[in-house]
Amino acid sequence: MISARLIPQLARLAILLIVVTFVLGPLTVAVFGGFKTNGELLANPFGIPSHWNTEFYSALLNDPSFWKYLGNSLIISLSTVVLTLIVAAAAAYVFAQIRFFGSKMLMSYLLAGLVFPFATAILPLFIKVRDFGLLDSYWAVILPQTAFGLSLSILLFKTFFEQLPKELFEAAYVEGCGYIRFFWRFTLPLSTPILATVGVFAFVQSWNNFLLPLVVINSRELFTWPLGMMQFRGEFLVEWNRVLAFITLSILPAVVFFVAAQKYIVAGLTGGAVKG
């Protein structure tokens, strides 16, 4: 009886471990690769390095442009998060709390962005950003990025706000508290889980964004890290160890962040996916 249950259990474990190897294999190769000389990388691409050379990592860590890339990405991502939270939460609050003429229509207009591939409008967006004189600035990334994230963010916020107890507003309203004050004093403080989810989500999207900065940013001074990485890759075509070190260092914050915030990321995904 026990052995009959043991065999499927072992098979399950074997499959899971194979998938774990498939997932983590390339990542460990990248981490180890940054410690190898190019010669060793050719001879021993996926093993543990025979000698842990830290020079490629330290070269990067001493490279001001590497920090510049990360700094640019951080500024853009944080600004996107703040802007998304304020703008989306405010709009979602209106949709959740106030019935007014045309609210349904406006809502579906703003939610249409959910099905709309970003790339469709990338050329006109480029023209628009240029015409506004924003080209080659942080805003060129922040504003469109926020705009494209609005649909999902508003949906997530609205769903959450609608689940807050209605009596709360009625009680505050009877006490003379208006809609806007209620939003600041009650709705937002009660919504930390969804604020975290949307914030983390907006951050990850922005941090990883490639196409938009690629199109609207030209000067190296303003490069985000994905652009910097492609630039670096172009400069060190054959020096894979340096490239792998760059990749490792730049995805490391993302991994740490992911492990810390995975609860909110998963909540956003599944909440948005299953309800949307």
């Binding site: 899971l16 774990v20 962005g113 790339a119 469709t120 628009k128 599944t270």
Partner: protein, 306 residues
């Protein structure tokens, strides 16, 4: 008596007025930022795309060279465009028929709440969180003919190293592999959430009725998470249509333009050559495809819910 009524009336009037103003203020202050941002950077560019697609235009000055559907004809006559459509369909097929079943199978293995399962889920989900561009770059090393893991694999088998990403037959398959690696965890997470929301008693009831493990999956779990499978399929299709970031570091559309997706095609032949009208035409086609998929999806879900 009449006094009291009038007081009540004026009071209710003032409440109404307060309500109106408080409500009005809220609507007028809190909605416009979202509305403006969305209109300026999402809706208007979309209309612009439709407009620009009718002109031959390099992006400078104002579009004047009206070519009617000339850009569309050019796109549809371009062999590389059809190659990119074919490639996009391959990604779509792999996503739907390999990635989704894989994700479902894994979700069934790890959806129960145990510490080990949580760890497995975390690991499987990890690639989704990494930047596409970084993922593509890592895999381009793995596939590298000189230094990569794949070449070492071939060498150990006593074969000549193959430059997978430079091989017309293999390059795109390699891309689909990276796509599966990157996104299966996302779909698995959707399935896990859905499976966890199925009441445990239903599975126990099925077991009591004599259902074997696979029968529980087939007759109870899969039918009950069908909506999530639909959502996941929808994301897989829309995601396939938009595939871009992963391809750039892997092949950049090569060798000899054989691995373009619709978006890399748009980028390469529209943006880098500043053919705004032409690129917009591709964008419009992409938009039509996405809207078509959404309408189809909506119809399907409506049919099911009836």
């Amino acid at each position: 008596m009449s006094n009291a009524t009038s007081i009540r009336a004026s009071k209710s009037n003032s409440i109404l007025a307060d309500l109106m103003s408080s409500k009005g203020q809220a609507v007028l202050l809190m909605l416009p930022p979202a509305f403006l941002l969305f209109t300026l950077f999402v809706a208007l560019p979309l209309f612009d795309a439709a407009y620009y697609s009718l002109f031959k235009w390099n992006g400078y000055g104002t579009p004047t060279d009206f070519v009617w559907l000339g850009n569309f004809r050019q796109v549809l006559d371009h062999g590389i465009f059809w190659q990119s459509v074919r490639n996009t369909l391959i990604v779509l097929a792999v996503s739907l028929f390999i990635q989704l079943p894989l994700a479902l199978g894994l979700a069934l293995m790890v959806y129960e709440k145990t510490p080990a399962n949580t760890l497995f889920r975390l690991v499987f989900f990890l690639p989704y969180i990494l930047a596409e561009i970084a993922s593509g770059l890592i895999w381009s090393f793995v596939f590298d003919g000189n230094a990569g893991v794949a070449s070492a694999l071939f060498k150990s088998l006593g074969m000549d190293p193959v430059f997978i990403l430079a091989d017309r037959h293999w390059a795109f398959l390699a891309i689909t592999l990276v796509v599966v690696w990157k996104y299966f965890g996302f779909h698995m997470m959707i399935f896990v959430a859905a499976l966890q929301s199925v009441p445990k008693e239903l599975l126990e009831a099925a077991r009591l009725e004599g259902a074997k493990r696979w029968e529980v999956v087939r007759f109870v779990q899969v039918p009950l998470i069908w909506a999530a499978i639909g959502v996941s399929a929808f994301f897989a299709v829309v995601g396939s249509l938009q595939l871009f970031d992963v391809v750039i570091p892997l092949t950049n559309g090569g060798p000899s333009n054989s691995t373009h997706t619709i978006v890399t095609y748009l980028y390469t032949f529209g943006l880098t050559r500043t053919r705004i009208g032409f690129g917009s035409a591709v964008g419009v086609l992409l938009f039509i495809a996405a809207v078509g998929v959404s309408i189809f999806y909506q119809r399907q879900t409506n049919k099911r819910s009836k």
